[in-house]
Amino acid sequence: MSSDQHPALEIARLNFRYGDRGFELQLPALTLGRGEEMLLVGRSGCGKSTLLQLIAGLVDPTSGTVKVAGEDIHRLKGAARDRFRGRSVGMVFQTFNLLHGFSAIENVMVAMLMSDMPKADWQPRAEALLRTLGIERLDAPAEELSVGQQQRVAVARALACRPALVLADEPTASLDPENSANAVRVLRDACREQGAALLVVSHDPSLEAHFARRERLEKLAPSAGSEAAA
């Protein structure tokens, strides 16, 4: 099976325990197809962000597998995992996490620098992505852009390396309801156009109207955020 034929995300028997408080997350299974969209909601502290970090390979599970585009990300070690993440997983954060001191286009190109994308493609792709998302001031410093524009730059950066999967962690938490709807539309449209699967985690119930596939983390993972067994 070629990597394009694998689902964007396959989670099986995922178990994660953390810290003195005994935080535990158990997720028996979760699959996200190529180009599929899904909203994962849940109460604060139930482990939504932790799940995204597990999927991105930023933290290691206690047991279980997380496959992104058919690759078990946790079997990759060190730089190989980092390169794979850069190539295959795009991330959008609540606070966007743009690099200060870098322009809009540079923020997008940094993502390409970290991947193995041919250098000749960087500038044209970054420009095209940003223009598609309605950013005209490509050389404007990120910190001088409006909140909405910063969010679009963050989306462009997440999609820069043509990832199989985009993870969005509370992408509307810092926006008002009107902008929140716009932001979700921009995110979905962009991912759809680029063929990337989208997994949004949020505690905002108003987002549910935008997604055909909606899940509650507490339902998928009944022990999410609970005290681990001794």
Binding site: L58, Q94, M114, R157
Partner: protein, 427 residues
């Protein structure tokens, strides 16, 4: 866009602290380079000032003082050598050069050296470099004066200018011009020659004949005795005809190096307890032997400053870690490996060192320029420090290496930055 862009942007984001640290490194590296350049240049300059005299005889307190007073004009010598002793000294050996000098008067604080015509024909201000006249000639008769290039430059005196001399150094105890100094207004000198620059303290002196010097002091003697008259050479008595030093050169075949008889003549003259005998070249070496320990201290201080600037790099980078952690976490999410982050931060500190070292070369140039101008202006010592390429490369490499070492701790901290914690708390 490259890794270097990320490093440069990171430095630009912390522009103020980056500039301060770069300047600190530049000043430290520049000072170290300047001291390295000046120490050898200073020694060369002092050796240059001793001229071609094998021996200097005076009645100063020590041979070193004798050289400082007689050749570097630090102070007017106090104890004179009388004519009888001078004649005895002249007759004691077939000297190749026997040039008496009397240093004591001044013109606008510049020392006046009364001497014999041989001073211009036999004495070389710098070994192997005889006097050259920019204008005019040596003095022929009394009350003619030849001025050094520095005097001409600073006083504006030109050929044919008239001037009167001041008794003593013309300076107060504080070393500044003394307005109440006694001027020999009765006797005017005429400038008949301007010397070309020699790069020695002689550039800041005026030269005249011994007879006119003696006449000035005989005039003072007559004044003290209550006799007011125009003194002529015929009025001079033995008491007037004194000198403060004698520059001696022994005959030698090749005109270079110390002649075999130097040691024996030196010993012979030293046996005369009334005289102070100095081998100028040796005294300069001795002076530098004394100065060298201070010199090493300066070098150690400059090196310590350089090390402290490395600590400044370390501190500034550690202080920026809180904002850097977020940047590191973002880069890690985008695909940067821990090792790549390590090198990015290490490159940042190395660039600070490299730019600081490069600027340090300019700082060194500025320090050398200012110090050479000051030495030339204040003491007539022309030093020609050369920025030794080897020293420059070693200091630049050392500075860069120190900066890189200073960057290791912040680089390790960046390497170990937990990504998840710096993006959003777990849970």
């Amino acid at each position: 866009m490259s890794d270097l862009t990320i490093v440069l942007r990171s430095l630009r984001t912390r522009m103020f602290s980056t500039l301060v640290v770069v300047l600190l490194v530049a000043v430290s590296a520049g000072l170290l380079l300047a001291i390295l350049s000046l120490r050898s240049a200073g020694e060369r300059a002092f050796e240059r000032g001793t001229g071609n005299a094998h021996l200097l005889v005076s009645r100063d307190g020590s041979p070193l003082v004798s050289v400082l007073n007689g050749l570097f004009y630090a102070n007017p010598p106090k104890a004179p050598i009388e004519q009888a002793k001078l004649d005895e000294l002249r007759a004691s050996f077939p000297w190749a050069m026997f040039v008496p000098t009397a240093v004591g008067d001044s013109y606008r604080t510049f020392p006046v050296v009364a001497t014999a015509p041989d001073f211009f024909s036999k004495f070389e201000p710098v070994f192997g470099e005889p006097w050259k006249f920019a204008e005019g000639r040596a003095f022929d008769t009394s009350f003619e004066v030849v001025i050094g290039s520095g005097v001409a430059r600073e006083t504006g005196l030109r050929m044919g200018a008239k001037l009167v001399l001041t008794h003593g150094s013309g300076k107060s105890r504080e070393g500044v011009a003394d307005e109440h100094a006694h001027e020999h207004n009765e006797y005017q000198y005429t400038v008949v020659g301007i010397l070309a620059p020699t790069g020695s303290p002689h550039d800041r002196a005026l030269f005249t004949d011994l007879t006119s010097c003696w006449i000035l002091h005989a005039h003072d003697r007559f004044e003290r005795e209550g006799t007011h008259k125009t003194v002529t050479p015929a009025d001079l008595v033995a008491e007037d005809k004194v000198v403060t030093g004698v520059l001696l050169r022994l005959p030698s075949r090749d005109n270079a190096g110390a002649p075999p008889a130097l040691a024996s003549q030196y010993d012979r003259l030293r046996r005369d307890g009334s005289l102070t005998v100095a081998i100028p070249a040796n005294e300069v070496q001795r002076l530098f032997g004394i100065v060298k320990s201070i010199d090493v201290l300066f070098l150690a201080m400059a090196a310590a400053t350089l090390v402290s600037s490395a600590f400044a790099i370390l501190l500034s980078m550690i202080n920026s870690m809180s904002e850097r952690r977020r940047q590191v976490a973002i880069l890690r999410v985008l695909g940067a490996s821990s090792m790549r982050i390590f090198w990015l931060v290490l490159t940042e500190s190395t660039i600070i060192g490299l730019v600081g070292a490069a600027l340090g070369v300019f700082v060194c140039g500025a320090v050398l320029f200012l110090s050479t101008q000051w030495l030339l202006g204040a003491h007539g010592i022309m030093i020609a420090p050369e920025l030794d390429a080897r020293s420059a490369v070693i200091v630049a490499m050392g500075t860069t290496l120190l900066a890189a070492i200073a960057g290791i701790v912040p680089s390790v901290l960046a390497y170990r930055t937990p990504v998840s914690r710096n993006l959003r708390p777990i849970g």
